[in-house]
């Protein structure tokens, strides 16, 4: 029996047995809708949490906290935390590691403050990390390079007023320096969310994302070597530097600002000594595959390095568990609908014994009858599945609309909580088809086994 004939039979069936088939298809549609909705929700939340809040394809390793860590060490230049170049090289050589980006924490007291659009936003202690520019090259907006401004020195100077704005005089306090552009700074998404929910509404400022479009105009001042808590142990004394926000990056430190590695190295050398400039405070490692993160953590442990933050893994495990649970609920619905299909098709085959027998008499094989029933079930399954996916998508729009209009804003609140990928839709349709075929398999076999002579002998 060719496909054209098969479709001819199915088309007639869809009209003849529409009541029973719609009932069966409804169960499949409900199950598929639930499966798709839950998985899309899980994937959407996962994308936000693991993509923006806790990236899981990377791990940051650092020495144990006792080794020069802590707020005291951070502010007053205790023994520099130590990841050596050799250790970085060893990590880079590992087969599971895609890239290693060392980070250098600013290890002396500093503060930051200034004005944004004429409004003072106060002065605060500054926590800063220096990172490899290669890590964030895609996050920098506009044409401002994320690099140490001393890479392009201007004219010699002793004070900033000798430089053309926005340049400032970079050099030891009281000594001679050179005019350079403001130090480029990256903010974290977390900082932007914090700014959006606290600073922006308080000071009547625009949201963080729109500020980035005006990045060149947001220049603030850093006070190096001294903060509210005290002065640096080394250096010629406190001095000013200028900085400007050039982008938002996943790799940026959550609370604080992120600067080019060489800038921090230079300032650490100036205010904390050579040790603070040559040993890294942590390394951000991009792993080739998510499931190899634990291998890299194990490698780090051999170097006495530990994960800085295990939230990504915890959240991933939690999300996977919740998604599995919800998918299980959907699978149960699909299983129930499969049994419904089994019942419907069993009745269908029983009612059509004579029709099946007649088809056998006029040239159909047992296999043709099996194919007929399975194809009918496949049609019901795919149609129910397509309707289920459509319903799930519509429900997701409603849920997103409710979230947008009824839920208060919160950090990382996404535009959509759902992620409908092509593979999810294909998988949902596949499951719908699979459960339909599973339900119809027994009755279809029975259709193939109908005894035509016996069925046609009855009047």
């Amino acid at each position: 029996m060719n496909l054209r004939a098969l479709w001819q039979l199915i088309r007639v069936d869809l009209v003849r047995a529409r009541g029973a088939l719609v009932t069966s298809g409804f169960g499949i549609a409900a199950g598929t809708a639930a499966l798709t909705f839950f998985l899309a929700l899980g994937l959407g939340v996962r994308a936000v949490l693991l993509g923006e809040v806790f990236p899981i394809d990377q791990i940051e390793l650092e020495p144990p906290k006792s080794e020069g860590g802590g707020i005291g060490g951070l502010l007053f230049g205790a023994e520099a935390p130590g990841i050596t170049e050799d250790q970085v090289a060893a990590l880079r050589a590992n087969e599971h590691v895609a890239a290693v980006y060392p980070k250098l924490r600013m290890s002396f007291p500093a503060s930051a403050g200034g004005e944004i659009f004429g409004r003072k936003i106060g002065t605060s202690e500054m926590i800063a990390d220096g990172i490899d520019p290669a890590l964030v090259k895609d996050d920098v907006k506009g044409d401002v390079p994320f690099e140490d401004p001393l890479a392009h020195p201007g004219k010699p100077c002793k004070e900033t007023k000798e430089c053309d704005a926005p340049q400032y005089c970079e050099g030891p306090s009281g000594g001679s320096g050179v005019c350079v552009d403001p130090v480029p700074v990256l903010a974290s998404r977390y900082m932007i969310e914090l700014y959006d929910s606290t600073i922006a509404p308080t000071h009547g400022l625009p949201p963080g994302d729109s500020l980035l479009g005006l990045a060149k105009s947001i220049i603030f001042r850093l006070w190096l070597g001294q903060s509210l808590l005290g002065k640096a142990k080394e250096g010629e004394g406190p001095r000013h530097a200028h900085a400007r926000v050039v982008g938002i990056s996943r790799a940026a430190i959550d609370i604080g600002i992120t600067l080019p590695l060489e800038t921090v190295r230079r300032w650490n050398r100036e205010y904390s000594g050579e040790a603070a400039a040559s040993k890294y405070s942590s390394v951000l490692i991009k792993v080739k595959s998510n499931d190899r993160v634990s291998d890299v953590i194990a490698l780090g442990a051999t170097m006495d390095l530990q994960p800085k933050d295990t939230r990504a893994r915890d959240v991933s495990v939690l999300l996977t568990g919740v998604m599995a649970l919800l998918a299980l609920v959907a699978a149960v619905i699909l299983l129930v609908s499969a049994s419904n299909i089994a019942y419907t098709f069993r009745v269908l085959v029983q009612d059509r014994r004579r029709e099946i027998a007649l088809y056998r008499a006029i040239g159909a094989s047992a296999r043709d009858m099996f194919k007929w029933m399975m194809s009918l079930a496949l049609t019901v399954g795919l149609t129910g599945g397509a309707i289920g996916v459509l319903v799930a998508w519509l429900l997701s729009l409603v849920a997103d609309w409710l979230a947008a209009t009824r839920l208060p804003d919160f950090p990382f609140k996404p535009e959509s909580f759902f992620a409908f990928s092509w593979w999810l839709i294909l998988a949902a349709l596949g499951f719908a088809a699979l459960f339909s075929l599973f339900g119809a398999f027994g009755p279809a076999r029975r259709a193939g086994k109908v005894d035509p002579a016996a069925a046609l002998a009855t009047l």
Binding site: M1, N2, R4, A5, Q8, L9, V12, R16, R354, E355, A357, L358, Y359, R360, A361, I362, G363, A364, S365, A366, R367, D368, D451, P452, A453, A454, L456, A457, T458, L459
Partner: protein, 230 residues
């Protein structure tokens, strides 16, 4: 003459233990191609069982059966189904029309399982004309009389130009006059198309149209005679 049907010692048992009953008990039958054979006998003598086996619908039997020179035991289900579709037509006492299809669609039903099924529509329409149902192709079976339904069933059986027509009490549900018309159609098909026909019946009127009459009693062939002697 070449044999279309050659059956040896066919035996078919129903039931188990003490309730066992032989519907066919060692039946041997040869039907030459082009021959019209009537199998005559009372109800329950095994006529329909014999037709089911000869038509390849029933494979649970003892004995040997060759159709068109091929031993059916060696054929797989698909091969036997293809042989049924290509070379055998069935006409049943209860017509077995599909109630949800029009008369023409019933006639065209065998095309579903034919390689060239999409080319058979014109032939289906022509067959309806030949059996006296011109212009009735769109009628549903429920709108037709018993005789008309049987004509549709005959047209369906002829759609794929079979060599062998197997008829199971084809006039059993019809009145005498309509039955006579159906018998006339079989006679014409046999004469004009050289169609091999095996008809099982308990009505002598149909047997009169055959070349040969086989009398079946209690699952056994008791004699074979010329129609005028049956």
């Amino acid at each position: 003459m070449t044999a279309c049907v050659e059956a040896h010692h066919l035996r078919k048992i129903y039931g188990q233990g003490k309730g066992v009953r032989a519907a066919l008990d060692g039946v041997s039958l040869r039907v030459s191609c082009g021959e019209f054979v009537a199998v005559l006998g009372p109800s329950g003598c095994g006529k329909s069982t014999l037709l089911g086996i000869v038509g390849g619908l029933d494979r649970q039997y003892e004995g040997e059966l060759d159709l068109f020179g091929r031993p059916t035991r060696a054929l797989k289900d698909g091969e036997l189904a293809r042989m049924r579709g290509d070379r055998i037509g069935f006409v049943f006492q209860a017509f077995h029309l599909l109630g949800h299809l029009s008369a023409l669609d019933n006639v065209l039903a065998p095309a579903l399982f034919a390689q060239d099924g999409d080319k058979l529509r014109a032939r289906g329409e022509q067959l309806l004309v030949e059996v006296g149902l011109a212009g009735r192709g769109g009628d549903m079976p429920e709108q037709m009389s018993g005789g008309e339904r049987q004509r549709v069933a005959i047209a369906r059986a002829l759609l794929r130009e079979p060599q062998l027509l197997l008829c199971d009490e084809p006039t059993g549900n019809l009145d005498l006059e309509t039955g006579a018309q159906i018998v006339e159609i079989f006679g014409r098909l046999h004469r004009e198309r050289d169609l091999t026909i095996v008809a099982v019946t308990h009505e002598k009127a149909l047997a009169q149209a055959a070349d040969r009459v086989v009398n079946l009693r209690a699952g056994k062939i008791v004699d074979e005679v010329a129609p005028e002697l049956s």
